[in-house]
Structure formats: C-alpha cells, structure tokens
Symmetry: C2
Subunit: 163 residues, 2 copies
C-alpha cells in the first residue's frame, strides 16, 4: 500500500512539474504575441508529456477573430493527428478561455484544461460564465491558477504600455 | 407620415426577402456539406444586401473542430476586409450556432444573426444556453425560424441516411 501511495505521489509530482513546464512554454508563446503587438496569450497542447502544438494569439495580425491561441493549437493538433477529437490531451493556456475557445475545447472533447490567470471580462470557465457545467458534451478537468501571477502580470504590462 | 410608414414597410419587406434569399444560399451550402458526408450546415455573411462570404461545415474533412460554417465565413470576411470586426454584417446560418460559434459571433461583434432550425443539443442562442444575454460585449439582433422546416429536414434526412 505504502509503495502504491508513494508511486501515486510521484505521479502527481511529475504531473505538477510537467504542468509548470508546459505553462512556462505557453508564457514564451504569450511573450511572442506581445512582441507582435497582440494581446499576450499563449497555449500549448500536450498528450501525456508530449507537446503536440504551441501557439499564440494572432487575431490582429491575421484579421481573424478565431485566431486565439487555444483554437490554433486545437486546429494544429487535429491536422497533425488526422482527428479533431483530443480527449487524451491537456490544453495549457495563460488566460482563462473565452466562450468561443471554451466551446471549441468542449467540442474537441479535450480531457484536461490548465489555465493561468482568471479572465474577469470574458472568462467562460467560471468567471463570466461556466460553460463546462452545461450539458454540452464533454466535461474536462479544469485546473486554474498555474503560474497565475506571471500570466496576469504579462497582460497587465502589455495593457499599461498600450496606454 | 403615411409615406414614411410605407417606406418603412417596404424596407422591412425587402429585408425579409433578402433574409429568405440569403438563407436559401445557406441551404445550398448545407447541401454541399451533406454531399461531402459532413453534417449539413451552411452559412452566409452579408453586409447590407451584399454577400461577403459563404461556407459549409467541413469539420470531418479538415479534421478541424473549428471548421464550422459560421467560423469559416467570419474568417473569410475578416481576411477580405482586413478587419475582424463585423458589426455591420448579418450572419445567416441554417442551424442555431453552438457555443464556439456564438462566442466567435459575439467576439466579431456581428450585428445581426438569422438562423433556421433550433439546435436542442448544443444551441447557444437560446436552446441549451443563451450566450448573447451574458455581458460578453456585443448584443446581436437574433432572428430564428427563417426557413426552419427546410433547415431541419435537411439535417433529419442526413442523420436518417447515416443510420
């Protein structure tokens, strides 16, 4: 029993370490967005500990309302795998997803979502609305607040410099 | 006064006629989707009486969870105009939009949405959830039930043939 418990704790520790590393990677993407003059939001899609796709927000550059980081990693992963179903994947994103992205995440049946900062303006995983609690198909595990300060500060700095 | 009233009624009649014509066009797109083995949903984006973009669902073909007809017309129009803001536009779609598409429609600030059949499984403009009533930015005018029977029957026939 003790061995099983230790193994389980090791697994959780590995998961937490991977979550932090993946969020670091999402932050690198978010900074790339800021460098392009875009709202700094980055995302990573991983299957287990394998990163499948990374992307950042490019809505202004592409004149594409759907070019959020989350939609971009879902599209990229679906294309790579030849399947839009991503139930074995975790999506990491620096900011709580909006309704469009949450809808896409639920539609792609993503199994797990890890996000950094809360989005009080348009957050659809608890802040303005909690879409995953509606009967819309999949129910991902949602973990919030991973590297929250770094994710929020990046956004705050960006908007401070915009003024 | 009488003249103004008549002019207004004429304007409304023209609008209704254009709405029907645009929905007919969306139905042509929906049939194209069915011919490709995709769930038959079509969309048209118009600015006034000018059609800017038409598209149909290609989620399976492209392995892209975001390749719904609505997202495709929003992307196409944004690219053509060099602006993701579409507040002067009407989006026509044969089926009530899902949360992802409704989120995109709100984010693009689409001024008016006309849809055909209700979507009891994933409709986000009143059926499962009513996203436009949340404080998420824009509040489009939403008109439902335009050519409802034709839109619904096309879907029912498709699913009957799938079995």
């Amino acid at each position: 029993m003790m061995q099983n418990k230790e193994k389980c704790q090791d697994g959780m520790k590995n998961q937490q370490e991977f979550d932090l590393a993946a969020m670091q990677m999402a932050l690198v993407e978010a900074r790339a967005a800021a460098n392009e003059g875009e709202t700094p939001i980055g995302a990573v899609l991983a299957c287990g500990e394998q990163v499948i796709a990374t992307a950042h927000n490019q809505k202004e550059l592409l004149n594409d309302v759907s070019a959020h980081a989350e939609i971009k990693v879902l599209r990229d992963a679906g294309k790579q795998r030849g399947d839009w179903r991503l139930s074995d994947c975790t999506l990491y994103v620096t900011l709580e997803p909006c309704p469009m992205c949450t809808g896409a995440i639920l539609a792609a049946r993503v199994g797990r979502v890890v996000y950094g900062a809360k989005n009080p303006v348009a957050g659809a995983m608890g802040s303005v609305i909690d879409l995953p609690r509606y009967p819309l198909g999949s129910k991902p595990v949602v973990i919030s607040g991973v590297m929250e300060d770094a994710c929020r500060e990046l956004l705050q700095d960006f908007f401070r410099n915009c003024r």
